[in-house]
């Protein structure tokens, strides 16, 4: 490898811990994050010719995201095939036996009201509510899905208004109410 590329690569290697940290935040355990980070840097090395020096971090970020995304996507495929189910993701169905019967009934009725109310939202507003419930930052979501933040917040605002009209409240939804 030419000396300037060698130097550039050594500079990028300084970000190795940051890549591991990012992968941990994306849900990979410590060992998997280290293994995947190594894969990232090997790919970066292999494709150094495609890299423009002024955007080295963007390039590193893109390779990291691609590998992380594909690994997570593969895990979803494995679940669909019944090969692997992460027990952490098994839906925790609340055991209502400790609740009083009237509380159970109220919860069931509230859930049904909410279910109907959400199902009656237009698709793009239902989607906005789903994105809100993901608890990811709205600005970043908007950038990732190619719409403006104001458009996303507008859909949310309209959806929340509709839900309030039907349910009387949107207390547990969380997130910003105004745009």
């Amino acid at each position: 490898m030419r000396d300037d590329r060698e130097e550039l690569y050594e500079e990028l290697l300084r970000y190795y811990p940051a890549v591991v940290s990012q992968l941990r935040k994306l849900g990979f355990d410590h060992e998997d994050a280290r293994d995947l980070a190594q894969e990232v840097f090997c790919r970066v090395y292999e494709h150094m010719d495609a890299y423009r020096a002024e955007s080295k971090l963007v390039y590193l970020q893109t390779v990291t995201r691609r590998l992380a995304y594909n690994e997570l996507r593969d895990r979803h495929a494995a679940k669909r095939q019944g090969i692997h189910v992460d027990t952490n993701e098994v839906v925790d169905l609340q055991d209502g036996r400790d609740e009083a019967a009237d509380q159970r009934l109220e919860r069931h009725e509230s859930l049904q009201r909410l279910r109907v109310a959400v199902s009656q939202l237009p698709p793009n507003e239902r989607e906005a509510i789903r994105l809100q419930l993901s608890e990811l930052p709205l600005e970043e979501i908007a950038k990732a899905i190619g719409i403006t933040v104001s458009a996303l917040k507008s859909r949310l605002h309209t959806a929340r208004k509709r839900l309030r009209d039907v349910l009387g409240e949107t207390e547990g939804l969380g997130g910003p109410d105004d745009h």
Binding site: L13, Y15, Y16, P17, A18, V19, V20, S21, Q22, K25, L26, E31, D32, R34, D35, Q38, E39, C42, Y45, L57, R65, R66, A68, Y69, N70, L72, R73, D74, H76, A77, A78, R80, Q81, G82, V91, Q94, S110, L114, R115, V118, P123, R126, E127, R130, L131, L133, S134, L136, P137, I141, K143, A144, I145, G146, E169, T170, E171, G172, L173, G174
Partner: protein, 250 residues
């Protein structure tokens, strides 16, 4: 009162329903293209909707590279990992990640090459219909590898090849410790987006050899790509496996 717990329950329901209904998530390339605003409006809508059912994948695009990563790795771990990278670049041993992904031999047969046809000939599984000229062939097919699947579910690896001049008894193979009340098979035409359902068979029986046989007549099908989907049915319907078929004209 509508509590956060109820919102969480609705969210989980939405996610589960959306994933079953719409299938696999978009590819990385599709999401990149979406974020650049380069998809057509219908495509953008499709990818956006799909992505909303996979918050962990969406998070890949929202989580930045941290400015500080102090304490993430011990000095020893960092030294070990950098040494492994340099070793690999010099043609050294594969990483633990690659080693961990090596599957047992039987899965390698099933998965590594993608969908494989094993045609049972001779006295085991082939017989001809004398009233018609179309042969009836028995084939075994395996769940396709997950890598290489593009946005419309078209496989990047070779699908199982079948021909328009024969009918088939398809034996999709799927091993699972869990036993469902019943099984269901669905055939999709991949020529359309989204794929169009051609038929749905309920009451499919699981055989002792972990196959779920179903008869497929190709007489009225156009050459192209099709997908067979296996579901397990208990209180809910769970998608278990997908098999891609390439129908060729003869």
């Amino acid at each position: 009162m509508i509590t956060k717990e109820l919102w969480d329950a609705i969210y989980r329901e939405q996610i589960a329903d959306g994933r079953k209904r719409l299938g696999p998530p978009p590819t990385f390339e599709d999401v990149e293209t979406l974020s650049r605003g380069e998809l057509s409006e219908p495509e953008a809508h499709r990818v956006r909707e799909l992505l909303s059912y996979y918050p962990d994948l969406l998070r890949v695009f929202t989580e930045p590279l941290p400015a500080s990563a102090e304490g993430v790795l011990t000095d020893e771990e960092l030294a070990t990992d950098l040494a492994e990278i340099r070793s690999r670049l010099r043609g050294g041993p594969i990483s633990r990640h690659e080693a961990a992904r090596t599957r047992p031999a039987w899965r390698m047969l099933a998965i590594a090459a993608g969908v494989v046809i094993a045609v049972a000939l001779g006295g085991i599984g082939v017989w001809r219909k004398t009233t018609q000229q179309r042969p009836l062939l028995t084939v075994f097919i395996y769940p396709e590898a997950s890598r290489g699947i593009d946005a419309r579910g078209l496989p990047g690896v070779t699908p199982a090849g079948i021909s328009t001049d024969a009918d088939y008894v398809l034996n999709p193979v799927f091993e699972s410790r869990r036993q469902y009340r019943e099984y269901r098979l669905e055939l999709l035409d991949l020529a359309t987006a989204p794929p169009k359902r051609l038929w749905l068979r309920d009451g499919v029986a699981r055989q002792p050899d972990d196959t779920y046989p179903v008869r497929l007549s190709t007489k009225d099908l156009e050459p192209g790509l099709y997908r067979l989907v296996l579901y397990g049915v208990d209180e809910t319907v769970e998608q278990l496996a997908e098999y891609t078929l390439r129908l060729k004209a003869d």
